[in-house]
């Protein structure tokens, strides 16, 4: 593997959903994106800008129409989702998505401990896993260490997201994908989960791609910001630029985009009324 190549490389990736119907959406219009190893990239964008689609394309939730996705030296464009999972840890926006609700905490982690590995007839819950899990869960300070046999579905959204994060990073992933993982939480739980996110990423030195709606998170976290708009990368702030960025700067960039679009539409209307 070439050590100089970026960990993730998207080249000219296209995706259209519901092509040829009234519901046609084009969330990826020739996206190029390089992410180097160890980077913590924040992805920002309005609704429908294609930011979640970007994460899902990398994770393999759907097949891309054109282009190429490389991950850790492999061309993964044609890999099914479950195969890519060997390289990727994921936390979803919906706290219900990342865990199996009717199974115990221990069950869930025994699955995470085999992420991307062969699953055979070995006993799923070893004594070692239980001990290690109890220690790691105790660090969360949520009082869950004595409830490892509780069904995960009975826990709060914040607890589930914290556990999902722990599961996604139980085996160190090459790439961690966080898809607005605090958006569905109350402010206090969101803060807790963000703190935990920051800790884990720093400690394990994880390459991370995190989608967020929160400008505050975007400014406070990570070392690079990618702003998405209409299925493409609009701005890309490197660590140096990001350092000077304020929430207001980001908001004004979005405002610019909005104005430009309004202008486009009114101009188009003007032209139509003149010439058609």
């Amino acid at each position: 593997m070439n050590t100089h190549a970026p960990l993730v490389r998207l080249s000219q990736v296209y995706k259209t959903f519901h092509a040829g119907t009234v519901n046609e959406v084009r969330p990826m219009r020739g996206i190029d994106l390089d992410i180097s190893e160890g980077a913590f990239v924040i992805v920002l964008g309005g609704n429908g800008s294609g930011k979640s689609t970007l994460l899902n394309a990398i994770a393999g939730s759907f097949a891309i129409d054109a282009g190429r996705i490389e991950l850790a030296g492999h061309d993964v464009s044609a890999w099914p989702e479950h195969r890519r999972a060997g390289l990727i840890g994921r936390v979803f926006q919906n706290p219900f998505s990342g865990t199996a609700p009717n199974m115990t905490i221990l069950d869930n982690f025994s699955l995470a401990a085999k992420r991307g590995r062969f699953r055979g007839l070995a006993w799923a819950q070893s004594r070692r896993l239980q001990d290690e899990l109890r220690d790691r869960v105790r660090e969360l300070k949520m009082g869950l260490e004595d409830r490892l046999d509780t069904a995960i579905g009975s826990l709060s959204g914040g607890q589930r997201q914290a556990l999902t994060l722990l599961m996604a990073t139980w085996l160190k992933p090459k790439l961690l994908l966080l898809d607005e993982h605090t958006a569905a939480l109350d402010p206090k739980s969101a803060d807790q989960v963000i703190t935990l996110t920051d800790q884990i990423i720093a400690r394990e030195n994880l390459t991370t791609l995190m989608v967020t709606h929160s400008m505050q998170q975007a400014v406070n976290l990570g070392d690079r910001i990618v702003m998405m708009h209409r299925g493409n990368v609009l701005h890309d702030f490197s660590a140096g630029q990001k350092h000077r960025l304020q929430v207001e700067d980001l908001l004004s960039r979005f405002e610019n985009v909005r104005r430009r679009e309004l202008l486009d539409e009114s101009a188009a209307r003007l032209l139509r009324s003149r010439y058609i």
Binding site: P80, A85, F92, G98, S110, K114, R119, L121, A124
Partner: protein, 311 residues
Amino acid sequence: MTLLIGAFTLGAILSLLALGVYISYRIFDIADITVDGSLTFGAAVASILLVKHGMNPLQASGMAFLAGALAGSVSGILQTRFRINPLLSGILVMTALYSVNLHVMGRSNIPFLGTVTLSTYCEQWGVLWFGATETNLWGWTVSSADLTMLLLMLALVGLVAFALWAFLRTDIGTAMRASGDNPQMIRALGGNVENYRIFGLAVSNGLVGLAGALWAQYQNFADVQMGIGMVVWGLASVIIGEALTGAASVGVAIIGTIIGSILFRQLVAIALSFGLNPNDLKLVTALFVFAALILPDMMHKLSKAKQPGVA
């Protein structure tokens, strides 16, 4: 007493079917009608191997398991590779199996007269263990063969139940349970949901095929109609088991399902002895499952209606 032992034995045999239905209904959340076909398929394969080829009854029962597993994997492949609705997949495989079963059996009914089956084994072992063809059980005189059959079936069911419990706690078994609970999650953890589904339905219908083979040997004939409505029977057992035990964990759910099957067979035996027309059996079973399915919702609504102040 003979009636009671018979009901226990049949309940034990059909608990294998109930365990199969537990896998498809509770783990994968699908009502898998393949069961109606694979039960007969298991019985058909075993009966031909026993009658025509004189195979060892235990081996023949093992082959019935494989036959059922084959039927289950076809259903699984229809659901996953061809994306056909699970209910429709089951209907297709069940319908196709009806012809297959007739071909395998060559006719619609095969009696096991003069054939060595588990029943014949039990007659010999019964005399061996209890010293005579009849024995005393808590003051009742019962046939040693019947009693041996019951003990054999209970032992067999215990063995299968333990194996199933252990399997569901292995890496692949745990992943299979998760694929039914939250497919998105297990995919993100590198699990191939489609393969788990196919494999799970194979195991499920394998158990059903085994139940078919044992049932045929117990009643000493195989019939092409014996599988009709059996998925509903399995559902009833699973539901009774859950009502009794609460199904807090896999182990409890497995034990509950077995108890549910035996209990349901007892209830049926009692109802029949009180004059229930056997023709009404399927109707009553279906009504029972219907009631069990809507009751939780109805009770929920009733408890809400009683508190008009609560929004």
